[in-house]
């Protein structure tokens, strides 16, 4: 069973990591918890569902379906994040640190209620463009083709992000802004543009996570974002807020912890979240900047 639980943990961790990356990118550059990120990932899932519903023939199944869903969800979620940043956060950025947060909370409430009122009040089944085959791993364990796709997609996106942040000009600009936004501005970097791009990328990753989430669990609902969002944010902090590798590490550790609690501790399932948060608190007490340390602008 250990092998099976490992597969379970990796799949869960992959999704958490993607969502955590969205939080950490935004936090690294603005020191802001984007409370609306959980709704952005939900909207990404709904966008993909929308595509599959409107053009089922083309985008309901197969590789084209999968690709189409990712493109639509990532673009849609990214755009929503950028628009929200522009109108709900940017005017508040220089005024106080907590004001954008309250605004984000308001945006989160609006988005969730909007989907409830205008899209659907109930769960909607999510299309499965991937044919699900169970691949036995020996010892009674098996991994489904779907889980492989999820892991693969998540890892591919993380690798892409890494490449982009390390090797491209915009990525360099992002890192510069995360280090010290004022000096970056002095160096000629347009901070507003970089911030918008960061929000786009963070939102896109969230949207992709939304699609993976929908595929993994088979259905989506207006309030799907809240729980994974809160957990992924915890994972991001666990790894070191603002630290991209930290977010990935945190996501997988959280997935592992949850599997450990549900799978190996008697009666553990109901204590699962207590265990996860307790570990978080203990880790932060020992390493106050997270496991891999934070990467934030120093405010002395």
């Amino acid at each position: 069973m250990v092998l099976q639980q490992l597969v379970n943990a990796l799949t869960l961790g992959a999704i958490y990591s993607l969502i955590a990356l969205g939080y950490t990118l935004v936090y690294g550059i603005l020191a802001m918890i984007n409370f609306a990120h959980s709704e952005v990932l939900m909207l990404g899932a709904f966008a993909a569902l929308g595509l599959a519903t409107i053009l089922p023939a083309a985008f309901g199944t197969g590789a084209l379906g999968l690709g189409g869903m990712f493109v639509v969800s990532m673009l849609g979620a990214g755009l929503v994040n950028v628009i929200v940043e522009r109108f709900a956060y940017r005017p508040l950025r220089h005024i106080s640190r907590l004001a954008p947060l309250i605004s984000a909370i308001g945006v989160s409430i609006v988005l969730q209620n909007a989907v409830f009122l205008w899209l659907s009040t109930q769960s909607l089944s999510f299309p499965q463009p991937v044919e699900i085959k169970q691949i036995p791993l020996g010892g009674g364990a098996s991994v489904s083709s779907l889980q492989l796709v999820i892991l693969g997609a998540a890892l591919a996106l993380m690798a892409l992000l890494h490449f982009w942040v390390e090797k491209t000009k915009m990525g360099k600009a992002m890192r510069a802004c995360a280090d010290d936004i004022t000096t970056a501005g002095l160096m000629g970097i347009n901070a507003d543009v970089v911030i918008a791009v960061t929000f786009f990328v963070g939102g896109a990753l969230g949207g992709a996570a939304g699609v993976l989430y929908g595929m993994n669990y088979g259905s989506i609902k207006y309030n799907l974002g809240f729980l994974p969002g809160a957990k992924a944010f915890t994972a991001a902090v666990l790894g070191g807020i603002g630290n991209i590798r930290g977010a990935v590490l945190g996501g997988f550790i959280l997935g592992g912890l949850e599997v450990l609690a549900s799978g190996y501790i008697p009666n553990g399932a109901q204590w699962r979240d207590v265990i996860a948060f307790t570990v978080l608190i203990l880790v932060l007490l020992v390493r106050p900047s997270g496991l891999l340390g934070e990467k934030l602008a120093e405010k002395v």
């Binding site: 909607l124 609902k221 549900s262």
Partner: protein, 394 residues
């Protein structure tokens, strides 16, 4: 700044005046529906509302009463504090003659106290915790007994499922799961009591949370449990039940390994979540399966005709809302005509409800002295996703 402060004060004052001015305006006899219309339980509450609205529309269209009946919605968001707010609002409207709701036991318990002080009759279509009605027997209870429910308490269903699993399906070792709500946990606890008293063994008991999606780790543990459970009993609702079924299939946990759950999972929406994985799942329900009663078939047909939206499918408790409304109508008939102002006597309503002897979708409903339904017929059904149906096992 002063301008803003003034306009803020003015707005607040206006709001207060509007609020105060909002009193009985229409001369209709009103039935309040207090359920979660938004928030995490919005799906279920909206369904209950639709059930009641359908009943009210039918009764008005048939001109069954000389006066008009109006269903008034109130949203408690499944938050106990909000349910008490709503209760306070409802009792201050004298045109409201009864309230259908709340949906959650956590809301029904505190709200019931407010309704008792008024007094206004309260019929819950879905709150299953025994304390909801039992609290009326406490020496601290203030007011008459006003609480009724058309749904049996948890003990009844859990017991029936345990007997079915032990006697009919010959299972001896079961794993227990519940969603840590009064409903789910109540069902599970009763299942365990009865199953163990019959000689069976509950090898493990775990709680999940409503809203959780990933049960792979938990199911893997159950699958690999040395005590070799022969099935899972789940106390909870269709969303989690559907996900459990789906993930069980992915982990290759299939027949003869069984899955039994309660009426919160017996809904076509289960198939949306679980798909083919739902095949063979056993679900207990109150009364005779809706599909087998002619009056019920009519209800389903009318419901589908009236509510055609994609998010308006029949949910597990909607017909309880409909039935509760019918029971209210039956009592209204016995009350006769309203007074000169068009208002009905609330206390007489409570008395008439106590005398209920109504046969409908759920079979025969009568109430005991606590207000609990004496209809304790439980049917076990088997799910068939291919035609989205539930087959009654008799």
């Amino acid at each position: 700044m002063i301008a803003f402060r003034r306009s803020a004060a003015a707005t607040l004052a206006l709001a207060a005046v509007l609020a105060a001015a909002c009193g009985p305006k229409e001369k209709a006899v009103k039935i309040a529906v207090a359920v979660p219309l938004t928030g995490d339980m919005g799906t279920e509450g909206q369904g209950l509302w639709r059930g009641v609205e359908l009943a009210v529309e039918e009764v008005n269209a048939a001109h069954r009463f000389a006066y008009r009946i109006k269903a008034v919605p109130f949203d408690d968001r499944a938050d106990p504090k909000e349910a008490v707010n709503v209760a306070n609002l409802i009792v201050s409207d004298p045109r409201i003659v009864a309230v259908i709701g709340p949906y959650n036991s956590g809301c029904a318990i505190p709200a019931g106290k407010v309704y008792a002080r008024a007094p206004v009759a309260m019929i819950s279509p879905a709150a299953t915790n025994p304390e909801v009605t039992a609290q009326q027997l406490s020496p601290d209870w203030i007011g008459p007994k006003v609480i009724f429910r058309v749904v049996p308490t948890d003990d009844v269903q859990g017991e029936a499922a345990a007997k079915f699993a032990f006697t009919n399906l010959r299972k001896r070792r079961m794993a227990l799961l519940h969603d840590k709500t009064p409903y789910g946990q109540g069902l599970a606890e009763q299942f365990r009591k009865t199953f163990e008293s019959l000689g069976g063994k509950v090898v493990s008991a775990d709680g999940i949370s409503v809203g959780d999606k990933d049960f792979k780790a938990l199911l893997t543990k159950i699958k690999g449990d040395d005590s070799r459970p022969e099935g899972i009993y789940f106390g909870g609702l269709y969303t989690e039940a559907g996900l459990l079924l789906k993930q069980m299939k992915e982990l290759d946990m299939k027949a003869p390994f069984i899955f039994i759950s309660g009426d919160g999972s017996k809904t076509p929406a289960l198939f949306d979540v679980a798909g083919d994985a739902a095949e063979g799942a056993y679900l207990s329900i109150v009364g005779i399966p809706v599909e087998e009663l002619p009056s019920a078939r009519e209800f389903i047909a009318n419901y589908k005709k009236r509510w055609t939206g994609s998010s308006e499918e029949l949910k597990p408790f909607d017909h309880f809302g409909y039935e509760a409304a019918q029971i209210v109508f039956a009592a209204l008939e016995r009350l006769g005509a309203p007074d000169a102002d068009g208002m009905m006597d609330r206390e007489k309503m409570i008395d008439e409800l106590r005398k209920t002897h109504y046969t409908g979708l759920l079979g025969l409903t009568t109430f005991d002295e606590k207000g609990d339904t004496l209809n304790k017929i439980i049917t076990i059904t088997k799910a068939h996703p291919k035609d989205r149906s539930f087959e009654g096992m008799h």
